[in-house]
């Protein structure tokens, strides 16, 4: 027998000649190509695959699909490639696969956590809510933080997350189509064919490795005379022949979002024994479809009875799939039970391969159907009006107890039946998850006892079993109709409808079926409703007794439906139980909301390419390579990398910054200011526009001159600043902060487009056009003068705050005479392409002059020594120019500018606003913490408001002490006074001083 004692000799879609080796909990086993891990385990007679979440009860495989609640396993490739909580029913077997069970210690068969099962009276519904309140005499949350949380953190969780970084790559793709078909079973394939033949662009996604859905697990029956599995193959071949059809197997439509945007997760390499190490593991598809056909089928429901969770108990439809698709029998002696014709098809197929059918139990008193007649003809032992009341067995079912429902609602004991597997069917629940995610309104079909799609919210159609179609003929018909409707909705003609003639199908004449809600005998044994979260019928009844009425509340109280499977197999049983307990109807209890994702999606898939170097754009200036060559340290400023400091041999950051500052003040330094935002403002109304935007006067500014501009928002608060140069009557070169480049342009466009559309002025971002080389220091002029051609850089021709056009190192440049250090300074703007070469020419001369390159840290220190602000450091969105001592910049004669009206609001003209001051520590030199509070006494009483806070703090090597800028209430009136700055190691006494620590008269600006 090939790859397992429970493998049939023939049949199924597996390749018996291709044996695959794998291990489960270290035990070597064999399967066949085409197996899932679940089918391979079952072929080896392994039903026990895991322990349950709460009670650690032994659990087996219940389903054959993505709805599996129990068979969660961890698949290990290597350290980083360890994936917990995979459903064994979806894990494709490959040679060498290593899988381990979860939630057990020390082993699956001997698990110490199973003590929870014996102590289960301690864990009723709402256990967590009731327990963690803690005794009243203890401090709030004491019980939680001291007792429960540590214990729960040790025990909690499904599986174990890998501890090393995920080594795999994940791809992502946007896609667009006319028709997205979710699910490639009979309805989905018929829909896709119809839409494709009408000319539509179609994407078909199916979560399984092989498309075809239930067509692949039917043992008998034909469509137009062709066996069902062959029909699926034919349909796929036809679809593959359409150029505008994309087939995506192994792809789950996990989310349905606004305006027909769907999220799809494609598993690319998990099934591959030796995946391409360069290839992606999974791919996220963001699909925009004009119409969506939801063809997600239906999910079979378990029966609820005592100990219904023993390994060996599985759904009848799953057993049928294992038998007919994978050539696996669930055991040697089977009991098949349910309230649904599917049990007869399962019984006939199992008997057909030699499985002993011990009994077929139909809870219905008098079922009449072709399926039952066929089972009777085959001589199968059928008992109608019979239900299951319990099971026995250790780690595997060995016996079931049956009963007969009586007229008074009680159940009469009807004996026991030994068996090694029980196949159950409580009816089928249409998979309305995606419809519900689309915000469509569900309706309750009382006749069928199921929720079905009601009112659509988007352009979609539910086809097949998920839309309520019953039986293969109706399913295919509704699929074909949906495909034609979808194509028509996209503007394609109707075309010719295919005819489908379905014959010989026995299973599932009714696709749905009523929920069984048996009245359970009293006793200790548990009847599970939600297998994954270990919620029993008694938990639900308790919740109802305690007064919960809405299923949304009951869900949260009992956790039913809140596991990773979102209650796919349990929701309807829970609703039936609760409505039965409350003596009301299912729709009265309500239905919980289905949320994305349909099945769990890896973080990797959602992150896609956005990790490592591609997490965000990493922007580097044209001079960056030079700085790297000099061993610069870099800091992130937004998405830019900026040279932070240039350490020389053995220098730490402090030493390097100190040296750079001293060099600039004593000789000259060169600094890469390329990241400054730049906007070219051009047009006859350019000056008028800037005058309205900035606080400053610009109409009077002469071409060739610069002005320090301050930008407010309408509320009057400083939001940006920068030097603005008038290049010509109608042309300005505006600079912004590095971080403000995009937002200032956005704000300017806003006013221009919506408030002052009459102005003839246009804006162009030139941030990336210009490399900016700042040369600062008393020798700055000496350094650049020989490189400048076509302009006089002397103090008279090019005074402070002026600009000219010239060639620098042979390159056309905009040469600014500006300073952000307080020293004589120039900023050379050259096209970025020439940035590196001009920089190198300048830097060489700087070094010859005893200067050096300096980074952003030295720049910060130098500007702080001068009391120059940095927007975002000295400002926080509540600071007006006057607070900063910049009231002089405001154009006093201007009637209006953005924010002007706010500057005369009562709160803005108060004299006790926080004002920018300098702070020097008294006694021992201490570097104050950025952001530290400023107070009037060393140890203010609790609740005392601070006077302000430290905005910038540096050690100044030039001044030989630490300096700080601070915003302090009424600060300018406190000069010379002593205040305190509480810090972690105690308050520091400070003296309030002018924010200009260095060269207060500004004499150095002229060298």
């Amino acid at each position: 027998m090939s790859a397992g004692a429970f493998r049939t000799a023939t049949g199924g879609r597996i390749d018996r000649t291709h044996t695959l080796r794998f291990t489960f909990d270290g035990r070597p086993l064999q399967g066949c190509a085409g197996d899932t891990l679940a089918s391979a385990l079952l072929a080896n007679g392994r039903h026990l695959v895991g322990r349950s979440f709460k009670y650690h009860r032994p659990r087996g495989i219940v389903t054959s699909g993505s709805e599996e609640p129990n068979a969660l396993v961890t698949v290990v490739r290597d350290g980083g490639r360890t994936t917990p909580n995979l459903r064994a029913t979806q894990v494709e077997l490959y040679d060498g696969l290593t899988a381990i069970s979860q939630n057990r210690w020390p082993s699956l068969t001997r698990d110490l956590g199973a003590i929870n099962d014996k102590l289960s009276l301690m864990f009723p519904a709402g256990f967590y809510y009731k327990t963690f309140m803690g005794p009243r005499f203890l401090p709030e949350n004491w019980a939680w933080t001291k007792v429960f949380e540590p214990a729960i953190r040790r025990a909690a969780g499904l599986g174990r997350a890998p501890t090393s970084a995920d080594p795999d790559r994940y791809a992502s793709r946007y896609a667009h189509c006319d028709v997205l078909v979710a699910g490639a079973g009979p309805a989905g394939l018929a829909a896709a064919l119809a839409a494709a033949e009408a000319g539509a662009r179609v994407i078909v996604a199916d979560e399984q490795s092989e498309m075809g859905g239930s067509l692949l697990s039917a043992s008998r029956g034909a469509i137009n005379g062709v066996p069902t599995a062959q029909c699926a193959a034919d349909a796929l071949a036809q679809l593959a022949g359409h150029a505008r059809v994309r087939l995506l197997p192994r792809t789950t439509v996990f989310g349905y979002f606004a305006q027909n945007m769907a999220g799809l997760a494609e598993r690319i390499s998990d099934h591959d024994p030796s995946p391409d190490p360069e290839g992606p593991r999974e791919r996220l598809w963001q699909v925009r479809a004009r119409h969506v056909v939801i063809a997600t089928g239906a999910i079979e429901r378990p029966l609820v009875f005592s100990n219904n969770d023993r390994p060996g108990i599985m759904l009848a439809g799953a057993a049928l799939t294992y038998l007919n698709r994978y050539g696996v029998t669930p055991g040697q002696r089977a009991v098949i039970a349910g309230s649904h014709d599917g049990i007869y098809a399962a019984a006939l197929d199992l008997a057909g391969v030699g499985v002993e059918v011990a009994a077929v139990l139909d809870t219905r008193a008098d079922p009449q159907s072709a399926a039952m007649a066929a089972a009777l003809d085959a001589g199968l032992p059928i008992r109608t009006g019979t239900c299951i009341v319990g099971s026995r067995g250790h780690l595997r079912v060995s016996e079931i107890m049956i009963g007969a429902p009586m007229a008074d609602g009680s159940i009469r004991d009807a004996g026991r039946i030994p068996c090694d597997c029980l196949l159950m069917s409580g009816g089928w629940t249409p998979s309305v998850h995606l419809f519900s995610q689309s915000r469509g309104k569900l309706r309750f079909d009382a006749a069928a006892g199921v929720f079905l799609p009601g009112v659509s919210a988007q352009s979609e159609t539910s086809a097949g079993a998920c839309g309520g179609a019953s039986g293969l003929a109706a399913v295919i018909e509704s699929g074909a109709a949906a495909g034609r409707t979808a194509a028509q909705a996209c503007g394609f003609g109707l075309g010719r409808a295919r005819a489908y003639r379905v014959e010989g199908i026995l299973e599932a004449t009714e696709a749905t079926g009523h929920v069984n809600a048996p009245r359970l005998p009293q006793g200790m044994a548990k009847a599970f409703v939600d297998f994954q979260n270990d919620v029993t019928s008694r938990d639900l009844e308790l919740a109802a007794r305690e007064g919960f009425r809405s299923i949304e509340h009951i869900k949260r109280y009992t956790t039913t439906g809140m596991a990773t499977d979102q209650g796919k197999t349990s929701n309807m049983n829970a609703l039936a139980l609760v409505s039965g307990t409350l003596n009301t109807t299912v729709p009265d209890v309500g239905l919980t909301t289905f949320r994305q994702p349909y099945t769990p999606v890896t973080f990797g898939t959602l992150a896609g390419m956005a990790r490592g170097d591609l997490f965000d754009p990493i922007r580097r200036t044209s001079i960056d390579g030079w700085a790297q060559g000099k061993g610069a340290a870099f800091e992130d400023v937004g998405t830019w990398k900026r040279a932070w400091y240039f350490p020389r041999a053995k220098e730490d950051m402090h030493a390097a910054v100190a040296r750079e500052c001293r060099t600039v003040r004593a000789a000259v330094g060169v600094f890469d200011a390329s990241t400054l935002g730049k906007i070219e403002v051009v047009g006859p109304d350019a000056a008028e526009f800037l005058e309205r935007m900035y606080v400053n006067a610009f109409k009077a500014l002469k071409p060739g001159r610069c002005r320090y501009g301050i930008l407010l928002n309408e509320a009057g608060f400083v939001i940006d600043d920068g030097v603005i140069a008038r290049l010509a009557q109608d042309r300005f070169h505006v600079t912004t902060t590095t971080g403000g480049a995009a937002s200032v342009l956005n704000m300017m466009e806003d006013y221009l487009q919506t408030e002052w559309p009459d102005l003839q002025v246009w804006l162009t971002s030139t941030t990336e056009q210009w490399a900016v080389i700042a040369v600062q220091g008393p020798r700055a002029r000496d350094v650049i003068a020989p490189l400048v051609d076509g302009a006089d850089v002397g103090g008279e021709a090019l005074p402070h705050m002026s600009v000219c056009e010239a060639k620098v190192a042979g390159v056309p440049a905009r040469l600014f005479r500006v300073s952000f250090t307080g020293e004589l300074g120039f900023e050379i703007n050259v096209p970025v392409g020439a940035g590196r070469s001009v920089w190198e020419a300048v830097a060489a001369r700087v070094e010859d002059a005893g200067g050096c390159a300096y980074g952003t840290e030295a720049m910060h220190v130098l500007r702080a020594e001068k009391g120059y602000i940095i927007v975002g450091q000295e400002t926080d969105g509540t600071v007006i120019p006057e607070d900063l001592g910049l009231g002089w910049a405001i154009g006093k004669s201007k009637a209006d500018f953005v924010g002007r009206r706010s500057l005369v609001r009562p709160d803005m003209i108060r004299t006790d606003r926080k004002q920018l001051v300098g702070l020097l520590t008294r006694g021992r030199d201490v570097l104050l913490d950025d952001g530290a509070q400023v107070t009037s006494v060393a140890a203010p009483a609790k609740g005392t408001a601070a006077l302000g806070h430290v905005t910038s703090s540096y050690h100044s090597s030039v001044l030989g002490k630490s300096i700080a800028l601070a915003l302090v209430r009424g600060g300018r009136g406190l000069m010379g006074q002593r205040l305190h700055v509480p810090m972690p190691k105690g308050a520091v006494e400070v003296e309030v001083v002018s924010p200009v620590f260095y060269d207060p008269k500004g004499e150095k600006l002229n060298g």
Partner: protein, 182 residues
């Protein structure tokens, strides 16, 4: 630009692939203005400026990409930059407008090949099917986390204009997309 030169066809045989290469050096100008200026530029440049949204026009190597109702990106061979600037400045004298040299602001990539739609769809949210994005369409849009100007120059070829500092990122994402076949 080693990474561009090293670009290879994609997909390990899965697709026929796509190729990413650097575009020839170009002179670029952002032209903004109203009707009178638009007509003046068109005649001076020798290329009509599209008034239809999201459409490119070109003639004798001079290209005008519609970016907004009052904004065009003009592209010419790098060697013609000075000439174009002076011709336009002369023609536009006295007509309110803005003409700004942005030659160095952008870099450009040419992405081509049978899988070009899939490769660009790794980062671009637009429908790149020829019915939705025909040859001659151009627009600012996004490619992953970078803003680009995308112009379809042929059924299987696009030009991607990107701000210079975003080039390594866009190249990086494209290289991955080419390798993955999109």
């Amino acid at each position: 630009m080693a990474s561009v030169d090293a670009a290879v066809s994609a997909g390990g045989g899965r697709d026929a692939g796509a190729l990413v290469r650097a575009a020839a050096p170009a002179a670029r100008f952002v032209f903004r203005g109203r009707d009178a200026a638009v007509a003046t530029v068109a005649s001076a440049l020798g290329t009509p400026l599209s008034l239809e949204p999201c459409r490119a026009s070109q003639s004798v190597g001079r290209i005008a990409l519609w970016l907004g109702p009052d904004e065009w990106l003009l592209i010419a061979p790098r060697s013609e930059g000075g000439l174009v600037a002076s011709v336009l400045a002369k023609a536009l004298g006295g007509v309110p407008h803005a003409l700004v040299d942005v030659s160095d602001r952008n870099s450009a990539l040419i992405v081509s090949g049978p899988a070009v739609e899939d490769v660009l769809s790794a980062g671009c949210p637009l429908d790149l099917d020829q019915a939705a994005f025909p040859v001659g369409m151009c627009t600012r849009t996004l490619f992953a986390k970078a803003e680009i100007v995308l112009w379809r120059t042929a059924p299987a070829e696009f030009r991607v204009e990107v701000a210079r500092s975003f080039l390594p990122y866009v190249e990086g994402v494209l290289a991955v997309a080419v390798r993955d076949g999109g």
